[in-house]
């Protein structure tokens, strides 16, 4: 302990001297060099403390002494920089010395068993501040560790169905191992320790003395979650240049992992759901699925490791700028070719050249769009993890299958689809899947089945969530809706309408709020999210057979297929997927109701009529509905008729947001047309809402 005191004193001495140091004064310099040398030898003499920390301390002190030597050799050019580095070195030594003392065993403590190389547990980790010179490396560390963690997590999920696969165990081990090594060098003691114990745990599994199921598996997942949190904190600390505090429950987790790796855990808690896993193994259908899930994950990690220079990371901002510019280019190109076809139609050579250029620009645009596309795999992996955790929590064993993880869609869509998916999977496990007892009584497999699939269909992406649970209870939904005043008691409702009720705000059939779902955020939020992505959601369900929810999403948010319409001299764009039909109405199809608003009767159904020329205040437009064209838009039972002058054609347009104007009901964005003029894109759900309140536009 005397030595420790001595070391602390020495470091304090150095810390006190450096700010007053005169780089020209050789006597001063020699003194402080002496202090650094003493620090170095004091650290060398420390026994029983963490080896990595000791080496770092030694190196720091040694380098400090060397820097001063440089100053002594009259390297005055860099003296400011050197002084700065010395200050940093001392502050790192200060932090380090505290953790060194904590990891050094006290004389009364039992000696660590020789067989475990694990350093003695540090009870608390010190907040760390990332020194400027390390910042780029720490950033690399964060990025790379995220990849390791992701691939370890997906490997852990694979392990659930095949807990002894050596290759999978190795992959996870390597992830922890690499993180441990890097963290050690970067003085990230807390990360280093956690990765170290997790590595030990995996090492035991690799050697076959421990199986990664039950507690051990859960602890590995917990380690991954903890690492994610710590990396996030580290990133914040790095960006904001603030100290990084270790998570409060870190010490406890490290201890639990360590106990488990050393086999100290009470046996009864080791296997909370033994029957589940055996069943998983027996289920033949899971095999191809799980191997399908592993394959891309493994290749990802190999890529990340080996192809260091085959891929580069580009910020999404740059990518968006590129897409925007290509969009602009396409528009500019379109203007030129329109001009050429109008004025230079005799010059066939020019015509051909312009056509060739158009083709290249179109391909360029497609290519730039493709750059934003990422496979949905990442989101699916998150879901696999979620289902695993939730099914354990709810004690409802579930076989989770995924298909089509390679399906690519716009990055923004993938990001935004995660929350709705989480919500729906929660519902499935909490309300859909029955307890194993109930399932057995019904003659079903005691394990529930949830399937998540993605595929292309007719220019859209479809994501399906399917469970084999109890299905939606029509009567219960109806009763609830009546209670909530959403429908009247005697209202006739089709099946589609009943299922549609669960998307209404404030609707929740859960009898009890559970830990998993029923927190008041309902399917209405899910629907809103999907609609904000220009997507559609549909439910099919059969009692005791299960529920299937399918979400149809556009490939990208940057381009839509639009129907161009005219009103007076103005042109507008209606998203094609909202258009149901267009018609020229007979006078008797149109009737005026009490508040002067009009409705159109199409095949016996009433549709509110929105005269767009009135809404947008356009002069010179056709005013009589029976002289105009009507476009029926909407979906399901929510429809309305838009009164327009004419339909011009269909075209893909690049969506530009109307930044700075806020949200305008009825208009969702703008687009630059071939002639350089701007057209507004109509917001159909907004228009339908407006139709409920005709006073707004009459």
């Amino acid at each position: 302990m005397d030595k420790n005191l001595n070391l602390t004193e020495l470091i304090e001495q150095a810390a006190g001297k450096i700010p007053l140091l005169d780089p020209q004064d050789s006597k001063d310099l020699q003194e402080i060099a002496q202090v650094f040398k003493q620090i170095e030898s004091a650290i060398k003499e420390l026994s029983g403390c963490e080896e990595a920390g000791r080496l770092q301390g030694e190196t720091l002190a040694h380098l400090g002494a060397e820097q001063i030597e440089k100053l002594l050799q009259a390297d005055t050019e860099n003296s400011d920089r050197i002084l700065e580095e010395l200050t940093q070195a001392v502050s790192r030594l200060q932090t380090l010395s505290q953790s060194l003392f904590q990891s050094a065993p006290t004389p009364t403590a039992a000696p660590a068993p020789a067989s475990t190389p694990t350093p003695a547990p540090a009870d608390e980790f010190q907040p760390i501040t990332i020194v400027q010179e390390d910042a780029p490396l720490v950033q690399d560390f964060i990025n790379e560790s995220r990849e390791h963690i992701e691939s370890a997590e997906s490997a852990l999920l694979t392990l659930e169905s095949d807990p002894t696969s050596t290759e999978t165990l190795n992959q996870i081990f390597r992830g922890f191992h690499t993180i441990k090594g890097m963290a050690g060098f970067l003085n990230l003691t807390a990360v280093n320790r956690l990765a170290h114990v997790a590595e030990n745990l995996l090492d035991r599994a690799r050697k076959g003395t421990l199986t990664m199921v039950g507690l051990a598996g859960n602890l590995a997942f917990a380690a991954i979650d903890m690492l994610k949190t710590m990396l996030k904190d580290l990133q914040t600390g790095l960006t904001q240049n603030t100290p990084v505090l270790p998570p409060t429950d870190l010490t406890d987790l490290i201890r639990r992992i360590q106990d488990c790796a050393e086999g100290k855990t009470p046996p009864e808690t080791q296997e909370p759901l033994p029957d589940v896993r055996q069943d998983v193994k027996l289920e033949p259908i899971l095999q191809p699925e799980s191997s399908a899930r592993t394959a891309p994950a493994a290749s990802v990690s190999a890529d990340a490791a080996g192809a260091a220079r085959q891929t580069i990371k580009v910020s999404t901002k740059r990518l968006d700028d590129l897409i925007n510019m290509t969009g602009e280019l396409a528009v500019a190109q379109l203007m030129i070719s329109e001009e050429v076809s109008k004025t230079c139609h005799t010059d066939s050579d020019l015509f051909r050249k312009v056509a060739g250029q158009s083709k290249i620009v179109r391909e360029l645009q497609e290519l730039s769009m493709a750059m934003r596309m990422i496979p949905i795999q990442g989101a699916f992996q998150k879901m696999a993890r979620l289902v695993r955790d939730l099914s354990q929590k709810a004690a409802k064993p579930v076989i989770f299958q995924t298909a089509g993880e390679e399906t690519e869609l716009d990055r923004t869509i993938v990001d935004k689809i995660t929350d709705p998916l989480i919500h729906m999977l929660r519902n499935s496990i909490d309300h859909g899947i029955e307890s194993p007892q109930e399932r057995t009584q019904k003659g079903k497999n005691p394990q529930g089945r949830i399937r998540l699939a993605a595929y292309h269909q007719a220019g859209s992406i479809v994501i399906e969530i399917e469970d084999d649970g109890r299905g939606l209870n029509r009567e219960k939904i109806r009763k609830k809706a009546v209670e909530k005043g959403l429908v009247s008691e005697h209202q006739e409702l089709s099946e589609e309408e009943i299922f549609g009720l669960i998307f209404r705000p404030g609707f929740s059939t859960a009898d009890q709020v559970t830990d998993i779902s029923g927190r008041g955020v309902g399917m209405d939020v899910v629907k809103k999210n999907i609609e904000s992505l220009n997507g559609k959601i549909e439910i099919r369900s059969a009692p005791d057979k299960g529920t299937q929810i399918s979400i149809r999403l556009p490939l990208t948010l940057a381009i839509i297929d639009g129907q161009i319409i005219t009103i007076g001299s103005q042109r507008y764009i209606i998203p094609i997927n909202a258009v149901i039909q267009s018609l020229r109405p007979a006078p008797d199809q149109i009737s005026t109701i009490q508040n002067h608003s009009q409705v159109v009767i199409i095949r016996g159904q009433l549709h509110p009529l929105i005269p767009l020329y009135k809404l947008f205040g356009i002069a010179g437009a056709v005013q009589e509905p029976d002289q105009a064209l009507l476009v029926v838009v909407g979906e399901g039972s929510k429809r309305c008729c838009l009164q327009v002058d004419d339909l011009i054609g269909q075209q893909q347009v690049v969506i530009k947001s109307l930044r700075g104007l806020g949200k305008i009901k009825g208009v969702s964005g703008g687009a630059i047309m071939g002639d350089g003029r701007i057209s507004l894109i109509l917001d159909v759900p907004g228009l339908i809402e407006l139709a409920q309140d005709p006073a707004a536009y009459l």
């Binding site: 190196t59 080996g306 192809a307």
Partner: protein, 124 residues
């Protein structure tokens, strides 16, 4: 005489850390290469041999132990010095890798001094 160096490690960050430590050790190289695993390293060595290779052991695709064996089969790597850099520290493993043709062994965590000590003999 100017020397060339190759760092083989599956972690890009670790490669940078090694590179920095080499620089801190005061050793200078006129050319440095990197490889993410044994396969990549062997491919590169075939076309552009280096004087010194610093090589990790536990890597995907091809481990460091296998890489040493294969590198020793390459005619243009006869004089290449291969130094293993790894956390594995069992004497048995070190001996077997040295027997396979490695020229030295540095255990992680390492210091600039250690690099200086182990590499300096090959620098002249």
């Amino acid at each position: 005489m100017p020397k060339s160096l190759m760092i083989v490690d599956d972690s890009a960050t670790m490669r940078k850390i090694i590179m920095r430590t080499v620089r801190m050790s005061g050793l200078e190289f006129d050319r440095t290469e990197e490889a993410g695993n044994g396969v990549e390293a062997i491919e590169k060595l075939k076309t552009a041999p280096v004087d010194i290779v610093l090589c990790d052991i536990n890597m995907p695709e091809m481990s460091g132990t296998e890489m040493v064996k294969q590198a020793r089969q390459l005619p243009n790597c006869k004089d290449t010095k291969i130094i293993m850099v790894s956390t594995e520290s069992s004497q048995e493993l070190i001996d077997s890798i040295l027997a396979d043709g490695a020229n030295g062994y540095i255990t992680k965590p390492f210091t600039p001094e250690r690099f200086q000590e182990k590499l300096a003999p090959f620098m002249s």
